[in-house]
């Protein structure tokens, strides 16, 4: 065979889960397993691990804590949470602290898990290779990140837009759109680094739009601010929208500021190393948004798609 198999580390305090997973992935990757979060972090420090798949509720460290440490020691390692219970706090932390690639619930569908892990492994191998080729590249000047960047705020009330404007340096252009159409028009006409969206309903167009957007504009990062404590909504936004941050409303100033700074930096990084964009690949949304959208919204989508085509061409 050509390349050696990617290495995948499974972490779960139930030995039977690990046994089952070992069987499922036999022959597909180099399998590492442990029942201890601490040991998992040790593995990642000692050797390259392409993907870590962790349970959330475990004695000692939680899955999010494990994945956060993994990210700190080995940013190229792809992180997946595989858990039996999705409480809102865990899901929120998995986005904001763990920056995870997928949130998968038990019981899982075997094929989906295999596909997802393999996909993640491909991305990670690519990034590992990249990092090896350009050792110091990733630490390149984070200073010019904000230069000429553009941020779009989708907020029907306007208070959030005002807050974002106040938190960002003057060099960053903050555009405010009160509705989705306006936001899509902004996105069609400009290169937008970050979209900050206030989400007031779980099944509105906005959540769908954020998912579609990630497919058309993977380099654009989304920060969602919402008062909805709906873990299902958020899991959808992770798996299908790779939402970058999720803040519960009212978003603490400092969290928002840090989220914005991290998003701008990440965007700059993605633009210089477009190879990294695969990390932001998303699952196909469960349904197309077109069914519910109005004419004007449809128009905006069409323009955005065309703009995306041009960019690719």
């Amino acid at each position: 065979m050509s390349a050696p198999l990617p290495s995948v580390l499974f972490v779960d305090d139930e030995e039977r889960i690990l046994r089952s997973l070992r069987m499922l992935f036999r022959g597909r990757c180099e399998i590492l397993t442990t029942t201890s979060g601490r040991e998992a972090v040790e593995w990642v420090r000692r050797r390259p691990v392409h993907v870590v798949v962790s349970d959330q509720r475990m004695p000692g460290m939680t899955g999010v804590e494990v994945l956060r440490e993994v990210a700190a020691h080995s940013p190229a390692t792809m992180r997946i949470l595989l858990t039996g219970y999705a409480d809102m706090d865990a899901v929120t932390a998995s986005v904001n602290d763990g920056e995870i690639y997928r949130f998968i619930e038990k019981p899982w569908v075997a094929q989906y898990l295999v596909d997802t892990v393999e996909q993640a492994a491909r991305v990670a191998r690519h990034d590992f290779a990249l990092a090896a080729a350009r050792p110091a590249a990733s630490a390149a000047s984070p200073v010019d990140t904000a230069v000429a960047a553009r941020v779009a705020v989708l907020d029907d009330e306007g208070a959030l837009a005002a807050q974002v404007r106040e938190l960002l340096p003057a060099a960053v252009r903050v555009e405010h759109a009160p509705d989705l159409e306006g936001t899509l028009e902004l996105l069609a006409d400009h290169d937008v680094a970050v979209v900050i969206a206030r989400l007031s309903s779980a099944d509105g167009d906005v959540a769908d739009a954020l998912k579609q957007l990630k497919r058309l504009r993977p380099a654009t990062l989304a920060i969602v601010v919402s008062s909805l404590r709906d873990s299902r909504l958020l899991i959808g936004l992770i798996n299908e929208g790779q939402v970058f941050r999720f803040l519960l409303q009212p978003a603490p100033r400092e969290l928002l500021r840090r989220g914005l700074a991290a998003a701008l930096e990440r965007h700059a990084h993605l633009r210089t190393q477009s190879d990294l964009l695969q990390r932001h690949a998303v699952d196909a949304p469960r349904h197309e948004p077109v069914a519910t959208t109005t004419g004007r919204l449809l128009q905006a989508w069409r323009r955005l798609r065309e703009a995306a085509m041009l960019r690719i061409a």
């Binding site: 889960i17 046994r19 089952s20 499922l24 219970y85 038990k106 019981p107 899982w108 075997a110």
Partner: protein, 462 residues
């Protein structure tokens, strides 16, 4: 003050006053709460000190003064100098020659020289207190009201009474409303504590069920795929055998069939089937676990049984332990059971379960070290059952010990503690006619003791 006022309604009151107050009653009520005595002011025209007794008697007949027990005597310049009552006049006139003896003398000869004089700014409560201290039985006098400029008018004792009564009624209505609100919010709290502990429990249980469900499903999916491979291998091998033994037409793709068998054998071999058997053992174990959890949950909530019944406290303890098992296991807490021989207990099992669950989860939450240990002991002691839940956790500070049963008392961070667990447990145990006690030594551990009468709450409905 209340005690003094209660004497008023029994005091005989002149009938003309009673009839008068029927009309002014409503006014008095409306005015009184606004401005104290000022609201009760009657602008009575006073008599002069030099007015003769006969003239004063005449004035009492004036319809404007119909409701008054007494008339004020006011000197020029507005200084009130006395009060003359109908009662006093009547007493004098009823004496032999009383009218002749006193009729032409000035009213100062008969008046009360130390009447009750109150400033207009006096509050109703204050006035009620002063009146109660001064009042004579029967009530013969009203009182004089003054302001900075001197005489202002008169006030009726009866009006003050009504005002006080009105305010008392108002206050008791307010109290009633406050009580109703409190009660509603308390039952809401009980409900929300139930929901909170239920929520935590459900989170744990969902995780506990989905974990075995995860490997069960995965194992079954893999088994199905492997069986497909095995079936294909069997039929490919059969085809080869058939071809070799001449049972079937020897055809030209024998080579392909051999290749297929060879390929399939890399996917299904004896070792793989062995692994599969292992996975199926796990699967059986997992399904058993799920079944047990569901059974416990049903037992625990007693959804199929309601109200009072005979229950075995030891079984309730075991069932509560199984519900918190995942928490205990995750924290590596050792559980020591010392269950005694206990007669069946009259109780509401779901409620006793809630008490046990609260005590156990508090105990688990109090343990921060690695050598956690919880002792649960039951014992029968003539017609009573004792349940002890003891932990070797961090203990309770002496100054907190008296407050742990208080609603809302919690030392846990927001989101973790509601402070209602022990308050509700206390209530449940009391409703069962029992008692709950705590003792603790900071740094060493805590012990909760629950005592329940075997025959349930005698009289008190749980």
């Amino acid at each position: 003050m209340t005690a003094a006022l209660q004497a008023f309604p029994t005091a005989p009151i002149a009938s003309d006053v009673a009839s008068r107050d029927a009309t002014n009653d409503a006014d008095a009520r409306d005015r009184a709460p606004l401005s104290g005595l000022a609201g009760l002011l009657l602008p009575t025209e006073p008599v002069r000190p030099e007015t003769s007794v006969l003239d004063v008697a005449q004035q009492f007949l004036d319809s404007r003064h119909a409701g008054l027990l007494s008339l004020p005597v006011v000197a020029v310049g507005g200084r009130p100098v006395g009060m003359i009552s109908r009662y006093e006049l009547m007493r004098v006139f009823l004496q032999p020659y009383g009218r002749e003896l006193y009729g032409r003398r000035p009213i100062t000869a008969l008046m009360d020289r130390a009447p009750l004089v109150l400033p207009l700014s006096t509050s109703i409560d204050e006035a009620a207190r002063t009146i109660a201290a001064h009042v004579r039985s029967p009530i013969t006098d009203d009182f004089v009201l003054v302001d900075d400029a001197g005489y202002a008018g008169t006030g009726l004792v009866l009006d003050v009474l009504h005002a006080v009564e009105h305010r008392l009624a108002e206050r008791s209505r307010e109290l009633e409303r406050a009580y109703a609100r409190l009660k509603a919010s308390q039952s809401q709290l009980v409900q929300s504590e139930k929901m909170a502990s239920l929520g935590q429990m459900v989170a744990g249980l969902v995780h506990e069920i989905n974990t075995p469900l995860g490997y069960v499903r995965n194992n079954v999916e893999m088994t199905r795929a492997a069986l497909g491979d095995a079936a294909r291998l069997v039929s490919a091998q059969q085809a080869v055998i058939d071809a070799l033994t001449g049972e079937a037409e020897p055809d030209d793709d024998l080579d392909t069939r051999f290749a297929e068998v060879g390929h399939l054998r890399t996917r299904v071999d004896a070792a793989a089937l062995d692994d599969l058997c292992g996975l199926l053992d796990d699967t059986v174990h997992g399904v058993g676990q799920i079944g047990e959890l569901v059974l416990n949950l049903k037992d625990f909530s007693r959804l199929d049984q309601a109200g009072l019944q005979k229950a075995d406290i030891n079984r309730l303890v075991e069932s509560a332990l199984r519900i918190v098992a995942h928490v205990l296991r995750k924290r590596d807490i050792e559980v020591v059971l010392k269950l005694g021989e206990i007669p069946p207990l009259d109780c509401a099992p779901a409620q006793i379960n809630q008490v046990l669950l609260n005590l156990l989860s508090n105990a688990a939450q109090a343990i921060e070290h690695e050598r956690g240990r919880i002792v649960v002991a039951t014992q029968a002691l003539d017609r009573r059952v004792l349940v002890v839940v003891e932990d070797n956790g961090k203990g309770i500070e002496a100054e907190h010990l008296s407050r742990v049963f208080d609603p809302f008392f919690t030392t846990k961070p927001v989101g973790q503690g509601t402070g209602m667990g022990l308050a509700i447990s206390h209530q449940i145990v009391e409703q069962h006619g029992g008692a709950i006690r705590v003792s603790s030594k900071p740094g060493t551990g805590t012990r909760f003791l629950v005592v329940l009468p075997v025959s349930g709450a005698a009289g008190a409905a749980p």
